[in-house]
């Protein structure tokens, strides 16, 4: 029971940071029925990923030859098409033990789904499709990728400031363009259920910041968690009608990222996710009662999960527990 609990906790934490193509926490959450479906799918995926995880060696802390933050040589091989290929799993794994393998596979899965739906690649439109959606999807995919990269930046022991700044600028650029297009929206909770599965989920940052900035109450959850269900449609045929802009808040969150990069203390990274909603982790009954922790030791990148318990107070004390959990999971 405890094993399952901690094991699920592990994945929940990681999933929160890889919001793209998070089918587990997809829009099905919005209704009981859909929630069930999501969970089923999620379980299946968890199983696969655990297998993947368990076969990989864990990067040793301080090991000279495998630095988690360096891009592994094996990873970058042939140039691949953005839309149809994911980063090689082994690369991601060495960088962030356990976590990025999930990201890699999720990314691929998501993209493949999108590809199968739209038969599109990111480098150019597909003949037969109108130009506008293809550009929009490209832009969306780029935004997804950028946000993930920024998140990973947090988790690296030594973020490369230049790279982070460039990615953040790219995100701002996309966001500005989307704001001008009017496609930068946050969905009202009622309509969220119909949002398409393969849309980028509005990140926790957007929701949270929007709520903070504009004081409106129509953010989907009172305390939205990172990487949750898609709430912000792009030019979606579903015609979602949320009209609140998270722009200012988004900016604020990007800024927050830089503050975090600047203060690289364990606590500061936690702050970024300090108001994550606990109910979000209710993947199944076993998860209730989990506590969170923010591992920031050198061997384990500083992704800052928070869970049921109100964060900051318990985070540090549970550092050891989470680290222990990860050890168990990765070394099986």
């Amino acid at each position: 029971m405890i094993w399952r609990g901690t094991f699920s906790l592990f994945f929940v934490f990681f999933f929160n940071f890889f919001f793209q193509r998070l089918f587990i926490f997809g829009t099905e959450r919005e209704t009981e029925h859909e929630r069930g479906r999501g969970r089923e799918r999620g379980r299946h995926r968890i199983g696969n990923r655990l297998q993947a995880l368990s076969h990989q060696p864990r990067a040793r802390h301080g090991a000279r030859t495998h630095r988690p933050r360096d891009r592994d040589l094996a990873e970058v091989g042939r140039l691949t098409d953005c839309a149809t290929q994911a980063p090689h799993p082994s690369r991601c794994l060495k960088r962030v033990p356990g976590v990025a393998v999930l990201q890699g596979r999720m990314f691929a899965r998501g993209l493949k789904r999108k590809s199968s739906e739209d038969a599109e690649d990111a480098d150019g439109g597909v003949a037969g499709l109108p130009a506008a959606p293809s550009y929009t999807l490209q832009r969306q995919s780029l935004l997804d990728m950028s946000l993930v990269k920024l998140q990973l930046c947090h988790m690296l022991v030594e973020p490369n400031l230049c790279r982070s700044v460039l990615i953040a600028n790219t995100v701002r650029q996309i966001q500005e363009e989307m704001t001008q297009d009017g496609t930068w929206r946050v969905v009202a909770p009622q309509a969220a259920g119909r949002a398409p599965l393969d849309r980028l989920v509005s990140t926790e940052i957007l929701c949270r910041s929007g709520r903070e900035q504009e004081g409106e109450g129509d953010c989907p959850l009172p305390d939205p968690a990172p990487g949750q269900a898609p709430r912000r449609p792009q030019s979606s045929p579903w015609g979602l009608d949320g009209s609140r802009e998270g722009r200012g808040g988004f900016q604020k969150s990007l800024d927050h990222i830089f503050e975090t990069l600047e203060n690289k203390t364990p606590g500061s990274v936690e702050e970024l996710f300090s108001d994550v909603d606990s109910s979000y982790y209710d993947l199944d009954a076993v998860l209730t009662g989990m506590v969170g922790g923010a591992p920031t030791g050198p061997g384990l990148p500083a992704f800052a999960p928070t869970a049921a318990a109100p964060p900051s107070s318990t985070c540090r004390s549970d550092l050891g527990e989470l680290e222990h959990t990860v050890e168990i999971l990765v070394e099986t």
Partner: protein, 478 residues
């Protein structure tokens, strides 16, 4: 063949014909990350070639003297000294590991028998003295030959120690350690032409040091915004002018280059060249700068071509390296897809733009995904400034002759490693039918990137770092 006048035009023509000379490094496919070369630099005479790697080690190669019996082969470079320059550290306050990877090595001009170089990792710069010892003293009075101390009361006669020759020993010792001056990661160091000072640049600040003083440095550029949330631009490279000791240049991630004159002001980070002398202006742009004294600046920036704008425009315009020409009249900047040569007197646009691997422009999305778009390529000038060189992927590197406007793509590979074998030009096919010997863009190996290159200051000898191997190529002796 000292002073052959590199790049110099033989009667026949300007084209350089490059041949393989040597390769250093392990052959196996399995590359230990610590062996990856992270910087390459010739010294002022070209006799010494230093490399730094990710494991914090410095390896210095020395050129052998000309062999009279083989007049046609120029001196080879052999290992002269190896030492561990930096060790990994842990910053306890920030819970961060500080990598030992050597980011840059810069030689000091030689003033006596010893050689001095500066090597830096992300946080600490060290001045190393490399000296030779080929004699040892024998016949001490207070010590036995095996080193044991003699009892002074037993000594009845004194003798003068004699110097006897011994096998050459090269020692490296750290003479100065310049630490704790950088909050961000150091990306450049540059020795001034006065040979007394040098600058070190990190992402947001540039400091000026005196080589003799380690506990103090002057901050001369600071682009850190008051509010880190407004950070949109970082410093990517910096260099002192080769002749004017008050002038230096630094490049940014937004593709701008700023030429600064230290005489005008103690702090050199004013924003716009358009504002002339006058009271300090309050900058209200996104990246706020504290009000400063005025300075005499030039800002070099090429206006963006609106037709080629994409989401990646800013990333690919980020400058990864900036180098002054030997003459000091020009400077060269390397961004992701091109190298640009600028005349210091003209800020509006570069005088030359050379495409390095334009075929990658349509692949930027994939390159962004696998992070290759953030690779920082270096560039270098030939001895006479008539040719420039930079690296690319698939172990290719590119040479541009500025006079003939011709360029060539060459490859650093073990297959072409027969001594004095000429390098065959390579070609990347961008689409359509692939001719024989061409390689298609999708077959390029993005693991094999040539980021670091160096050119001998006087002769046509180049050193190219391909992951963990160092290739040395020479111009065919005509």
């Amino acid at each position: 063949m000292a002073g052959a006048g590199g790049g110099g035009c033989p009667a026949g023509g300007n084209d350089l014909q490059w041949c393989f000379s040597q390769v250093k490094g392990a052959i196996d496919e399995d590359v230990a990350e610590a062996d990856i070369i992270s910087t390459v630099e010739f010294n002022y005479s070209g006799d010494l070639l230093a490399t730094g790697d990710k494991g914090g080690r410095v390896v210095i190669f020395q050129r052998e003297q000309e062999n009279k019996s083989r007049p046609h082969s120029r001196g080879e470079y052999n290992v002269y000294s190896t030492f561990q320059s930096h060790e990994p550290e842990f910053d306890y306050l920030k819970s961060l590991e500080i990598e030992e990877k050597i980011n840059k090595i810069r030689w000091l001009p030689q003033q006596n028998a010893a050689h001095f170089l500066l090597s830096t990792n992300d946080k600490t710069i060290k001045l190393w003295k490399i000296s030779e010892r080929d004699k040892r003293a024998e016949g001490y009075n207070l010590k036995d030959e095996d080193g044991r101390l003699r009892d002074p009361f037993r000594i009845t006669a004194l003798r003068v120690p004699i110097l006897k020759p011994m096998d050459l020993m090269v020692e490296a010792s750290p003479r100065r350690i310049f630490a704790n001056a950088h909050t961000y990661h150091i990306n450049s160091i540059s020795v001034n032409s006065d040979h007394e000072t040098y600058l070190s640049a990190d992402d947001l600040r540039i400091n000026l040091w005196h080589l003799e003083i380690t506990d103090r440095s002057f901050n001369i550029v600071d682009i850190k915004p008051v509010n880190m949330e407004e950070l949109t631009e970082v410093i990517t490279a910096a260099e002192f002018h080769p002749h004017q000791c008050n002038v230096f240049v630094y490049s940014s991630s937004k593709g701008t280059i700023r030429l600064c004159d230290m005489r005008s002001s103690a702090l050199c980070d004013r924003h716009s060249k358009l504002t002339g002398p006058g009271p300090p202006l309050e900058v209200s742009e996104a990246q706020k700068v504290k009000a400063r004294k005025l300075t005499d600046w030039k800002v070099f920036e090429e206006p963006e071509d609106p037709s080629s704008r994409s989401f990646f425009s800013e990333i690919i315009s980020s400058i990864s390296d900036v180098r002054f020409s030997h003459s000091g009249r020009y400077m060269m900047t390397r961004d992701y897809l091109s190298v640009k040569v600028w005349d210091l007197n003209m800020e509006s646009r570069p005088v030359e733009t050379h495409q390095v691997h334009e075929y990658l422009r349509s692949k930027l999305c994939s390159l962004y995904e696998n992070d290759c778009i953030f690779d920082k390529f270096e560039c270098c000038w030939g001895g006479s400034d008539s040719a420039i060189m930079t690296g690319s992927y698939n172990n290719f590197f590119r040479m541009f002759d500025r006079n003939t406007r011709r360029d060539v793509t060459l490859e650093a590979s073990r297959e072409n490693s027969k001594p004095r074998a000429s390098l065959k030009p390579r070609k990347v096919c961008t689409g359509g039918k692939r001719k024989k010997d061409e390689i298609s863009v999708d077959s390029l190996d993005f693991n094999k990137k040539i980021l670091h290159t160096a050119w001998h200051p006087a002769e046509n000898i180049i050193a190219v770092a391909a992951t963990n191997n160092l290739y040395i190529f020479q111009d065919k002796v005509n």
